[in-house]
């Protein structure tokens, strides 16, 4: 998908669990494809899915699976707090 077609709910999910940094305040909501793909890949790697960077059915299904609220990648969260 093109970045501007990636649903906000997906971006929110990726940011919430530490895979995607929040949008840069300077550029507003603009989000390029590269970090999104990287974030999806990181999520797939962490979850044991095939690392494609594509929001396939298995990835979306896992995103809908009930889970703990805490982020998976905490380092990103720390960077965010420093900002």
């Amino acid at each position: 998908e093109e970045p501007n077609q990636t649903p906000e709910v997906i971006k929110d999910w990726l940011a919430k669990f530490g895979y995607l940094p929040p949008p840069d305040p300077v550029t507003g909501q603009l989000q390029t494809q590269e970090p999104l793909t990287k974030a999806v890949k990181a999520m797939q790697r962490f979850s044991g899915l095939e690392e494609t960077g594509i929001l396939d059915e298995a990835t979306l299904t896992l995103m809908k699976t009930p889970r703990c609220s805490l982020p998976d990648l905490l380092e990103l969260g720390k960077v965010r707090r420093k900002r």
């Binding site: 962490f46 979850s47 699976t65 009930p66 703990c68 982020p71």
Partner: protein, 446 residues
């Protein structure tokens, strides 16, 4: 994915359940006992000691909260995020553990749609004492809920989790890290809180006493949703995973899973997943509802006239990949709907379907993962393969046997549409075909 570990400097930690679930069938004592055992899982192997206290000064404050509860981690209703806990540290919230009160919390339940409170508590207390998420599939610290973990009194942490907690706190004196923990499970448990035993009057079974018998019923609707099969009957449904295995023998309640249908709606007519946006459409009478995941969309129900002025109700609905159209059926007639243009194709309704060898009217139909279309009527189903427009020879076959994991002998009621028949226990079901000479043979169907 390692990060700086935080841990408690003290070894004696107090805990308290500050708020209990509002509407849970689990009693306060059961919840406290589950918390006790979930903490004990960790203290069995590390030199940490947990003790329950009264008052507001507990290290680990346990709450059941809803939505935004002012800690920066708002809950989101059923599903989604179900719980969280704060890592050890100096902040006043350190160790606090919150469960989403909108979840259907269960204990020793066969209901796979519930959240097993013990399993989630073990995970969250792992955070409360310093463990972060880990990707290892076997770990209790994997972020996704993976179902119940068995008897709280016998639960043994995966080795991965033991090693990680030992890295933080060391090994409890009575434990050998290279030996199984058999000894730790054999201690006198008389002083421990009691947990209600799994019994015939367990709540999850009680709720379904008046539920239908999957082996002996006529289904209202059948649908393939997200690659899984759903069989609807009355207020209940059964779910089969992609491997065509029943997720649970116990039916789930439609209203507990599909949020937003009228509470007094006692059945559905037809259900299908829209190909264009993967939203799920429910039909009942002259109205329909559109769901995004398991929540109804704003503005529904809408009248069926949105589809066609001539459509008063629907028996069956499914999407046919072959021509990328949705087919709606009623009393031997069918309509063909184009999801992209949101219009019925001209020339419909028609009496003759493209598929030969199937009944003129049926209860519902769905396309399954093998590419075939399955038509369900009464207790039978017909299969039409992707490459053919004709029912496969040898059909109809038994829906209960081939889809609902029933043996022939389980379909033993004379009432064809016995929606009020009591739930049969499938464990130890008497297999009369192998009874003889005064002996009875019991078999399990799964």
């Amino acid at each position: 994915y390692t990060q700086t570990a935080t841990k408690w400097n003290k070894r004696n930690l107090s805990w308290r359940v500050r708020t209990f679930p509002k509407d849970s069938h689990l009693g306060h004592d059961t919840i406290r006992a589950l918390m006790f055992y979930a903490l004990k899982v960790w203290s069995d192997i590390t030199p940490l000691n947990f003790h329950e206290v009264r008052g507001d000064n507990a290290d680990i404050q346990i709450d059941f909260s809803r939505a935004d509860h002012h800690d920066g981690y708002p809950f989101d209703g059923p599903g989604g995020t179900v719980a969280h806990a704060f890592f050890p540290g100096d902040q006043h919230t350190a160790g606090d553990t919150h469960f989403d009160d909108d979840e259907y919390w269960t204990f020793r339940s066969a209901d796979t749609h519930g959240m097993d409170l013990f399993a989630v508590a073990v995970h969250e207390f792992g955070h409360a004492i310093g463990l972060s998420h880990i990707s290892t599939a076997e770990s209790i610290m994997r972020p996704y809920f993976q179902g119940p973990v068995g008897d709280p009194l016998k639960y043994d942490l995966p080795y991965e989790d033991k090693v990680r907690i030992w890295q933080l706190y060391g090994v409890r004196e009575s434990v050998s890290p290279t030996r199984a923990l058999a000894g730790a499970k054999d201690v006198n448990t008389a002083e421990y809180p009691a947990l209600p035993a799994l019994s015939a009057n367990h709540s999850s079974i009680q709720q379904r006493r008046d539920g239908p018998d999957r082996c002996n019923t006529l289904f209202d609707a059948v649908a393939q949703i997200r690659g899984e099969a759903f069989f609807f009957k009355g207020k209940y449904f059964w779910r089969l995973n992609r491997s065509k295995h029943l997720v649970s023998f116990q039916p789930a309640q439609i209203h507990r899973f599909w949020r937003g249908l009228p509470p007094n709606m006692d059945s559905v007519d037809a259900v299908y997943e829209r190909a264009t946006d993967h939203k799920i459409v429910f039909f009942k009478g002259s109205r329909y509802w559109v769901f995004k995941d398991n929540n109804v969309e704003e503005g529904y129900p809408r009248p069926l006239t949105d589809f066609s002025p001539s459509l008063e109700s629907v028996d069956a609905a499914f999407y046919w990949v072959h021509d990328s159209k949705t087919y709606l059926f009623k009393d031997g007639l069918h309509w063909r709907f184009d999801e992209n243009s949101r219009r019925m194709d001209l020339g419909y309704p028609k009496e003759t379907t493209p598929w030969k060898g199937i009944p003129s009217s049926f209860d519902d139909a769905m396309r399954w993962l093998d590419g075939a279309i399955y038509f369900f009527k009464g207790k039978d189903y017909w299969k039409v393969t992707e490459s053919s427009l004709e029912a496969v020879p040898g059909y109809p076959q038994s829906t209960a046997r081939d889809w609902l994991a029933c043996s022939e002998m389980q379909s033993d009621s004379s009432d064809m549409d016995n929606s009020k028949s009591k739930v049969q226990s499938r464990q130890g079901h008497h297999d009369l075909s192998r009874s003889g000479n005064g002996y009875e043979v019991c078999s399990c169907s799964a």
